[in-house]
């Protein structure tokens, strides 16, 4: 293989130069756990924790390079060639990559450690760790990929892993259904994504799969802007699927069927983050497309963020509250990105902070579920005293999500608000409204879970150190990472598109954001201060309550309009094929076999047995005849002898 190395000028440290080691470490962890896990003490969890720990340190090394103002680094080699098309395998490390690497490896590491405690009694413990590591590896592949085909490979491995993890407890039909739903729904988005990639490659004359080179070629003269716009829209289809944007958002809440650490991983670091990352990574394409593409992206983001936040109001399952919150927050990021190149820093920054506090919230929720053996908030309440660490970390996570000063969510949300206020005021209003709603439903969630009277049955207790440890780490991160994006902080220097961004801080926007959070929290507190028999929202929302309970009937619509007709016809067709074609072939073969058997039977009985019996009978008969000559009388023998001699003599004399 001919190595095609294109290096950028600036000096880089070894961590950046060998950044491809990071995904390999995670894949290696998966392979080690798979092959040696069951024979290792501790059922193989150590491989994942150790190797992903190394990957985390490595990622910090990569980040170090960018914190010190290092430039981007790219190196690639030819994977294979199709005609003139050079499909490459390489790494593209810039600030966005570095930030994503740190997020993915740190959250994944925490999830691995947490799973030690959470999955302790699971019968497929080792397998769980295998897929967890593989999932991480796939996401890291997507993050470092320099070529689109390479990115797509990681993207699809991630889809498989999400299927395996969501369906980890497949013994229950509901869980395997959720896994299938997640897989197929994201697939609906992946197909447009794949065609988008092909369209981009075709538009630039089948030369390269490199993201930067494609971006440049798209911007060149003579490429139809309509074609580019369509390609960009197709690529965004991938984001709609993976990041669960409207109208393909239906799989994400159902993905809660998986074990809680998986939910944390999917919602924070991998999978859904990949969609947002993709938009940021492909921004060159989006800015070269017609304006209406990014506007469409913005509209979809607005619909998703509002719709999902509303759905979070009415959930009883604590994980579903968080799931809809994730939907809403992802759309928040996409809304920021829809502004264009100016939104990249803000969008990725929110992705960065959101990963920490959403992972924290999920893991803390898992800790609660572990204690009360139920997902429903109607079985919780009053857990504040029994689970102090879980309580405080959950509150920190909620506050960060709500955007309370000075936690991580505040800074990143503020950044998004600033950007949208400058470029698309109507999105700014939507985002502000969602900020109020977010604060409201998180307050509701905290009050229902930790305050009031305990309504469950199991004896609640604090979780073991393997679970609270990651909670504390993530809580610290949820408080701390926001300051990277505080005024004058360096985040915009290393995560940017085209040119470094200065983090801007408008006091009025920050004040509006804080007021929004405050209003949300106050409303939530007033409504849920004392637990009533009926959810107070039922009265407030009126008929809307039912609509929300049924998720706007979107799931039902998909089932009735798409799934049932296809499934029924498909199963009828399969049944027909089975009955008439497959059964026909099988029965025909059987009949043929039987007929053949009859013929062989006849031949055996009459021909083969005939020969054998005739031989036996012939021997018997000739023996019987010869026996009669053997009288034992010597003189009789002598008579025969003389008769024989006489006969021979006559014969010889006659012949002579």
């Amino acid at each position: 293989m001919v190595a095609q190395v294109e290096e950028t000028a600036t000096a880089v440290n070894a961590f950046v130069e060998y950044a491809w080691v990071i995904p390999l470490l995670a894949f290696g962890a998966g392979a080690f756990t798979l092959f040696f896990g069951k024979r290792t003490p501790g059922r193989g969890a150590a491989y994942g924790i150790l190797l992903i720990g190394v990957a985390f340190v490595w990622s910090l090394g990569v980040l170090w390079h960018f914190v010190h103002g290092g430039g981007e680094y790219e190196t690639a080699t030819t994977w294979f060639e199709i005609g003139s098309l050079d499909v490459e395998l390489g790494i593209l490390v810039d600030g966005i990559t570095a930030a994503m690497l740190v997020v993915v490896t740190s959250v994944s590491l925490m999830v691995h450690i947490y799973s030690l405690g959470y999955m302790h009694d699971d019968e497929r413990f080792t397998w769980f760790f295998v897929v967890l590591s593989l999932f991480t590896g796939a996401m890291l592949t997507v993050v470092v990929a320099s070529g689109l085909i390479q990115l797509l490979v990681g993207w699809e491995i991630m889809g498989v892993c999400s299927y395996l993890l969501i369906g980890h407890w497949w013994e229950e039909k509901e869980n395997s259904d959720a896994a299938i739903k997640a897989f197929i729904t994201t697939r609906v988005g992946d197909v447009p994504f794949m065609f988008g990639i092909f369209a981009l490659i075709a538009a630039t004359g089948f030369e390269t799969t490199n993201i930067h080179e494609l971006g440049e070629a798209i911007g060149a003269e003579g490429v139809s802007s309509l074609f580019v716009s369509m390609a960009a829209l197709l690529v965004f289809g991938g984001t709609i699927g993976k990041s669960a944007q409207f109208p393909l958002h239906v799989w994400l809440p159902d993905a809660m069927a998986g074990p809680t650490p998986v939910s944390a991983l999917i919602h924070a670091a991998t999978m859904v983050a990949a969609g947002v990352y993709l938009v940021a990574r492909m921004m060159e394409v989006f800015v070269n497309a017609d304006v209406w593409v990014l506007q469409t992206v913005g509209v979809i983001a607005a619909i998703t963020t509002l719709g999902a936040a509303l759905l979070a109001f009415v959930q009883d399952d604590i994980k579903r509250v968080l799931a809809y919150s994730t939907l809403s927050q992802l759309a928040y990021m996409v809304a920021g990105l829809s502004v264009g190149e100016a939104g990249v820093t803000a969008g990725i920054f929110h992705l960065f902070t959101h990963a920490f506090f959403k992972a924290l919230l999920f893991l803390a929720a898992g800790s609660v579920i572990h204690a009360v053996h139920s997902n429903n908030m109607s079985d919780m309440g009053g857990l504040k005293k029994d689970m102090p660490i879980t309580f405080w970390t959950f509150v920190i996570g909620s506050a960060a999500l709500a955007g309370v000063v000075p936690l991580a969510g505040f800074w990143s949300k503020d950044e998004l608000l600033v950007v949208t206020q400058e470029h698309t005021p109507w999105l700014f209003v939507v985002l502000l409204l969602v900020a109020v709603m977010t604060a409201f439903y998180m307050t509701r969630c905290v009050l229902l879970t930790f305050f009031g009277r305990y309504r469950g049955h199991a004896h609640a207790h604090e979780s073991p150190a393997t679970m609270t440890g990651p909670l504390l780490f993530l809580a610290a991160a949820s408080i701390g990472v926001g300051f990277l994006g505080a005024p004058g902080a360096p985040f915009g220097k290393w995560v940017f598109f085209a040119h470094p961004e200065e983090i801007v801080f408008h006091a009025d926007v920050a004040l509006l954001g804080t007021i929004a959070a405050g209003v949300g929290i106050a409303l939530g507190y007033l409504m849920y201060r004392d637990r009533k028999e009926r959810d107070p929202l039922v009265g407030v929302l009126g008929p809307m309550w039912n609509v929300l309970q049924h998720r706007y009937y979107v799931d039902a619509f998909y089932m009735r309009a798409i799934i049932y007709p296809i499934r029924d016809r498909l199963s009828a067709g399969v049944d027909w094929t089975n009955r008439y074609i497959l059964d026909g072939v099988v029965n025909g073969a059987a009949m043929l076999g039987r007929g053949f058997g009859v013929v062989i039977n006849w031949i055996d009985r009459n021909v083969v047995d005939g020969f054998v019996n005739a031989t036996g009978e012939g021997a018997n008969a000739s023996g019987g005849f010869l026996r009669s000559l053997q009288t034992g009388n010597v003189q009789w023998y002598a008579v025969l002898l003389f008769v024989g001699v006489l006969a021979l003599t006559i014969v010889f004399v006659r012949i002579a």
Binding site: Q630, N633, V634, Q635, A638, F642
Partner: protein, 95 residues
């Protein structure tokens, strides 16, 4: 003339072998057949002026003496075991 005589002698031997029940008589009949052959051999030797025939006759006489020795020994053993020398009654060697 001589050949006719030997043929009659041979036929008498054959008759004796086939018809006599007494084992000693059967042996004597065999002796008749051998001597009929001897007469033939000597007759041809004389007619063809070839001494080989006479030599052959002497061999036959020697062999006949040995044969009678063994044959009579068998008859004596047969009598000791079965109290009979009737060949009809010695028919155990059959199927």
């Amino acid at each position: 003339m001589v050949l006719t005589f030997s043929a009659l002698l041979f036929s008498a031997g054959v008759y004796g072998v086939l018809a006599r029940r007494n084992a000693v008589m059967v042996l004597m009949a065999i002796e008749l057949m051998l001597n009929a052959v001897n007469v033939n051999l000597v007759a041809f030797a004389s007619a063809l002026q070839d001494v080989n025939g006479q030599v052959f006759a002497l061999f036959v006489i020697a062999v006949a003496a040995a044969e009678v020795g063994i044959g009579l020994a068998i008859v004596i053993l047969l009598f000791r075991n079965r109290e009979t020398i009737n060949v009809d009654e010695v028919s155990l060697l059959k199927w």
